[in-house]
Amino acid sequence: MITIIAKILKALNSETDPAQIGLAVSFSLIAGLTPTLSIHNLVVLFLVLILRVNISIFIVGIGIFSGLSFLLDPVFHRIGLGLLTAGPLEGLWTSFYNLPLLRIERFNNSIVMGSLLFSIALFVPAFIFSMFIVRQYREHILERVRNTRIMQMIMASRIYSTYQAVSGWGSNI
């Protein structure tokens, strides 16, 4: 846990590209909000590993968004059921329904459909917003945070020593 916190601090405070952090947040949004055992999450995992996405932020993001999904499940159910039972889309869903790969994906489940569409819709906004926040943090807050007493205490603590230990790692992970 301490190592993960240290890695997050490192990602935020170092020269890690804000786009890598933004992608990590966006991918964790999909993986966290949608049911874990879904085919699309295998694709997300593949993309997270193959692209230079910050994995520490991705892991923490999954934790946060998974927790959030418990609260949002009723909303996802409504969105999904509304879309799946919408008359004009019936032809599209029927053709999807007859494709084995999409059947395995369980697109016809109200929560899978609702959460997937919700998270895909938020993918780009979350990416842009995360990048903006990281840049703002680095420009305006980072120095002030470093000078606060709490931060001074943290810098003297084990988390900081771990942070220092990992700071020598490749900045991409």
Binding site: V48, H77, G80, L81, T85, G87, N108, N109, S110, I111
Partner: protein
């Protein structure tokens, strides 16, 4: 390119995927075992245990070993125990998320086996149809008078309910009429009329010139208005008096009817506790009905328990169907398929049941919760020949949910040459009856449609021998029954069960009816008379107090009636003497007759 791609991630992805597959392969069997145990326990309402589950991948198949389903009513017994269940799954259909098993074998099925540990679950689950038991048939308790006070303690007397109801009505009526009467012309208004009369009389003696035509006409006009006002109030009071009298008469009429109601309670309770003409003419039902009721209830109970396996909740939205899955969250929406198939289907399950009398084998076809998609009902057929103690047995039936709105189930059982040995037919401690031996042929045909049952049971027992024990078998009723049954060698029973499953009616006829009626009819008649007299006296005792109170509360109406009567007579007095006639109020008399007069 390398700024965005990390090629080592590909290796990591393969590593993660292979690890997931390995973990799945290692843990899938215990996970399946757990799912079966948990889901089964939820459906049955008692522990379902599985010794081992084995999932094979090439070909995809599942084998279950040592399945035990506890009997919820007897947690130390298994309702069913199955040695091995094996089947292969159509892997192509599995890609479409459809579990299709072409053939499944169910071997080593045993019923009613003993358990080592109790299979009860702490959490009390809903028991479905079994909780809705019909009222028990009193059995041979009819030979003894039940304790009347105990009986009345258990039963709700309709007479008492009627008394309570009439008392509430009387109180409500009194309140209403008190309010109504308060709104009618009362003392103040009557005094007002008196003052107006006085004023008119004063006109006569005043300085105003009565001889003046205008003055005379003015006084006459006022007198006429006064007369009309009094007349209107009088009519209002008389109308209210009529209504009040009608209400009172209605309450008196109802009380008179309630006084006769105990007889209805006596009739109802006599019938319920078997002390009726019907009970006397159908005495065999006291021996036979408890057994049939237990069978029917047990059948309905297991049907309710297994219902989720053959039918699931579907909501239609346009051409799509929204399905509530047994487990998991959300709802699955089903669309039209090119080749429609249920999500789960076992085309044929070959079952071999090991009964104490021998092996009984058969097949169950089309096991699926989506019969509407398959277009075929679940069918089952079992048979056994030359079993120990039974010449032949055949069981078949169907559970039809092809049209979910019109569920239809049927079951047929034919049993030939069943050797009955020492079968208890009455557990009444004072007269335990046992069928010592007999050869039975039995035929059952039952159909269940939209919650209504329609079944017939026909049984013929030959070479029967009854034995009776207990203290009462030596005297009176018991002796008569015992002696009558000792001469019986053939018993023919026909039962018809009809009505809603939670309140079905059973009609039973048997050659035992006449035999028993002849033997114990007079004894029973005495018992019936004795029972009814005691019951009538006890009911009257309970009802008389509240009924007297109800009668007493009618007194309040008489007070209200008196009040209205007094106002009417005062107004009549004023009208009759004050305006047109000489009265104690004065002696004012108009010099001419009023046009209304």
């Amino acid at each position: 390119m390398n700024r965005w791609i990390r090629w080592q991630g590909l290796v990591a992805f393969l590593g993660v995927t292979i690890s997931i597959c390995l973990i799945w392969a290692l843990f899938v069997d215990p996970v399946i075992k757990r799912i079966i145990e948990k889901t089964g326990t939820k459906i049955v309402g008692a522990k379902v245990e599985l010794e081992k589950a084995d999932l094979s991948l090439f070909p995809i198949g599942l084998t279950l070993f040592g399945l035990q389903v506890t009997d919820p009513d007897e947690p130390m017994k298994n309702a069913v125990e199955i040695g091995r269940i094996a089947g292969t799954v159509d892997s192509l259909q599995l890609l479409r998320r459809k579990v299709i098993v072409d053939e499944m074998s169910v071997e080593g099925v045993r019923l009613g086996t003993q358990r080592i540990r109790s299979g009860a679950i702490s959490k009390k689950t809903e028991k479905g149809g079994k909780d809705k038991k019909k009222e028990a048939v009193p059995g041979l308790t009819m030979m003894k008078l039940p304790d009347i006070q105990d009986l009345l303690g258990k039963e709700n007397l309709q007479t008492l309910q009627l008394v309570q109801s009439i008392r509430t009505d009387i109180e409500g009526g009194k309140e209403l009429w008190t309010k109504n009467i308060a709104g009618l012309p009362g003392k103040e208004k009557i005094d007002g009329y008196r003052k107006r009369i006085e004023a008119l009389k004063g006109t006569k003696g005043s300085s105003k010139n009565i001889g003046d035509i205008g003055g005379i006409l003015s006084s006459a006009g006022e007198a006429q208005t006064l007369y009309k006002d009094i007349q209107a109030d009088l009519e209002l009071l008389q109308k209210s008096q009529k209504g009040l009298n009608a209400t009172l008469a209605n309450f008196k009429d109802q009380i008179a009817k309630i006084e006769k109601a105990p007889q209805e309670d006596v009739r109802r309770l006599s019938e319920k506790y078997g002390f009726s003409a019907y009970g006397l003419a159908n005495m065999s039902r006291f021996f036979i009905e408890p057994g049939i009721t237990a069978w029917v209830d047990r059948g309905l109970y297991w049907k309710a328990r297994l219902e989720p396996l053959v039918e699931r909740a579907i909501e239609k939205k346009g051409n799509a169907e929204v399905i509530k899955p047994l487990r998991a969250k959300g709802s699955d929406v089903r669309f039209k398929e090119k080749e429609p198939l249920p999500d789960f289907l076992i085309r044929v399950a070959k079952v071999s049941v090991q009964l104490p009398m021998g092996d009984f084998s058969g097949a169950v076809k089309n096991i699926t919760p989506d019969q509407n998609i398959l277009g075929q009902p679940l069918l089952f057929a079992f048979s056994g020949e030359k079993l120990s103690g039974v010449r032949s047995v055949r069981l078949d039936g169907a559970i039809n949910r092809v049209s979910p709105g019109s569920p239809e189930d049927s079951i047929n059982l034919r049993l030939e040459g069943y050797k009955v040995q020492t079968k208890s037919i009455s557990q009444d401690s004072s007269l335990p009856l046992t069928l010592e031996k007999g050869d039975a042929d039995l035929e059952l045909k039952a159909a269940l449609s939209k919650g209504f049952i329609d079944a017939t049971v026909a049984a013929k027992l030959q070479g029967v021998r009854f034995s009776a024990g207990g203290a009462d078998a030596q005297s009176g009723f018991g002796k008569a029954v015992s002696s009558a049954l000792s001469g019986v060698s053939t018993v023919v029973v026909k039962a018809m069960i009809t009505g809603p499953t939670n309140n079905y009616q059973m009609q039973i006829s048997s050659n035992l009816d006449d035999i028993l009626k002849d033997a114990v009819g007079s004894i029973i008649k005495d018992q019936v008379a004795q029972f009814e007299n005691k019951l009538r006296a006890a009911i009257s005792d309970r009802v008389s107090g509240p009924l007297q109170e109800a009668k007493g509360s009618l007194g309040g109406f008489e007070g209200l009636g008196g009040e209205v009567e007094s106002r009417i007579s005062q107004l009549t007095g004023i009208q009759g003497g004050g305006v047109q006639k000489q009265s104690q109020l004065g002696g004012f008399q108009l010099p001419f007759k009023l046009p209304l007069q």
